[in-house]
């Protein structure tokens, strides 16, 4: 166990290895480690942010779906009302139309009846005269009995 130059040699090589480590080993590895640490921190922060954003988006979606549903039901209700209204209108209109038609038909019928009655009435006098002539055996002067005949026709 002699102390000798080995001591100096060891000291020098120690210094060289430390210098080398200081220059080429420690800084790059530490840089990589720090960078990775930052990356991980960033990633975690991003994940948190994304989760929050997702929550917000989810809430927004729910709100929109609810709104859409409300809107849809509103539209549906309106359509239903409108349809009912339309049907009702159509019915009323049809009914009115029908009544009008019936009314008209009735008027027509009355008119026809009246016309027929007038026509008949006109012919009654002729018939009456003819009948009377037959009965009496002679001609009845229509003009002489015009008043009577007219009265008869009117009673018909």
């Amino acid at each position: 166990m002699n102390l000798n130059m080995t001591l100096v040699g060891q000291l020098i090589s120690f210094a060289i290895f430390v210098w080398f480590c200081m220059k080429f080993v420690w800084p790059p590895v530490m840089a990589a480690l720090n960078e990775r640490q930052e990356k991980i921190a960033q990633g975690l922060a991003d994940a948190d942010k994304a989760a929050k954003e997702l929550d917000v988006a989810q809430a927004k979606i729910e709100e929109q779906v609810r709104d859409a549903k409300e809107e849809a039901s509103r539209i549906l209700e309106q359509a239903r009302k409108q349809a009912a209204q339309t049907v009702e209108d159509a019915q009323a209109k049809a009914r009115a139309e029908g009544e009008k038609l019936i009314e008209q038909a009735k008027a027509d019928i009355d008119q026809e009846v009246n016309a027929a009655r007038e026509a008949l009435r006109g012919q009654v006098s002729t018939l009456a005269v003819a009948g009377a002539s037959k009965i009496l055996g002679k001609a009845v002067d229509a003009d002489a009995h015009a008043e009577l005949i007219d009265q008869l026709a009117k009673e018909l």
Partner: protein, 288 residues
């Protein structure tokens, strides 16, 4: 490697491959000239080698310690630099994952202890932890494997665990000690640093005593740092060597438990060296 006795075997395994300036032989590997296996015992050669290495004094270098420590350090920086070069903040690959695991472990320990700002302490701690761990890891290589290969290649000594060489641990501890001094002066100024050494704990009328107390405290840091690591690994290695002296069919009953226990020791010692470095530097940054 052909020890005659257990003592010779142990001495051989604890001898570094030393190259240095011998007062008589000049620059040479520590190896007794004129050694003849036919005449001299190997044990004697080991003793002679140790004596030669001692005679070289400070002007000697443990070639095996240097080669293995630099090789392991290079292995460490190679893989870590490779991972760092292709480091991505995206999904990491296998190597990057492993490197990140260690770096984050080191960084966590620094952040728990060291409150100041420093670009040096991270790489410093990482280097200490990984390098010391790798050097300690050599302790788990069977004690005879590499020395026998080296012997076959004509290299007489090969101690492969650099942290069982006090030079290696003390070299690192001195590096840390220099940083302690540097940061103390940088943070507190020269006056502050000297004041801390002399004016406490007993005030200015006890300066010599304070200096003695604080000086010992300061110097104890590198000494304890290096001797703790060295002592643990040296003892561990020695026990592996002692186990290797037993009959081969019974060795595993001791070497396996000891190796498993040592897995804990080598990591723990690397961790302690790193942790104490961080603590010492944190103390250097703090004002009392």
């Amino acid at each position: 490697m052909a020890a005659e006795t257990a003592g010779g075997y142990i001495v051989h395994h604890l001898t570094n491959l030393t190259f240095g300036k011998h007062p008589v032989e000049g620059w040479t590997f520590a190896y007794p000239r004129g050694f003849d296996p036919a005449v001299h015992s190997h044990d004697m050669q080991y003793t002679m080698t140790g004596k030669m290495a001692s005679e070289m004094g400070f002007m000697a270098i443990h070639v095996d310690t240097m080669l293995w420590s630099i090789g392991l350090g290079a292995l460490f920086v190679f893989f870590f630099a490779k991972a760092a070069k292709y480091a991505t903040s995206g999904v990491p690959g296998g190597l990057q994952n492993f490197v990140e695991l260690i770096i984050e472990f080191v960084d966590t320990n620094i952040k728990d202890t060291f409150s100041g700002k420093s670009t040096l302490i991270g790489p410093l701690s990482l280097t200490i932890f990984c390098w010391v761990f790798l050097m300690n890891l050599m302790d788990l290589v069977p004690v005879d494997l590499v020395p026998n290969i080296a012997y076959a290649l004509g290299i007489e000594y090969m101690k492969i665990v650099p942290t069982t060489d006090v030079n290696a641990t003390l070299g690192m501890a001195i590096g840390v000690f220099c940083l302690i001094i540097f940061y103390s002066i940088k943070q507190k100024g020269l006056g502050g640093f000297v004041g801390e050494l002399t004016l406490q704990p007993f005030g200015k009328w006890m300066i010599p005593f304070n200096l003695l107390l604080e000086g010992v405290g300061l110097l104890a840091k590198p000494v304890s740092l290096s001797l703790r690591l060295f002592g643990n690994l040296y003892a561990g290695e020695l026990i592996f060597i002692l186990i290797a002296l037993m009959p081969f069919w019974i060795q595993f009953t001791l070497s396996v438990p000891w190796a498993i226990f040592h897995i804990l020791v080598i990591v723990l010692q690397a961790f302690i060296f790193m942790m104490l470095t961080i603590v010492y530097l944190a103390m250097a940054h703090e004002h009392h």
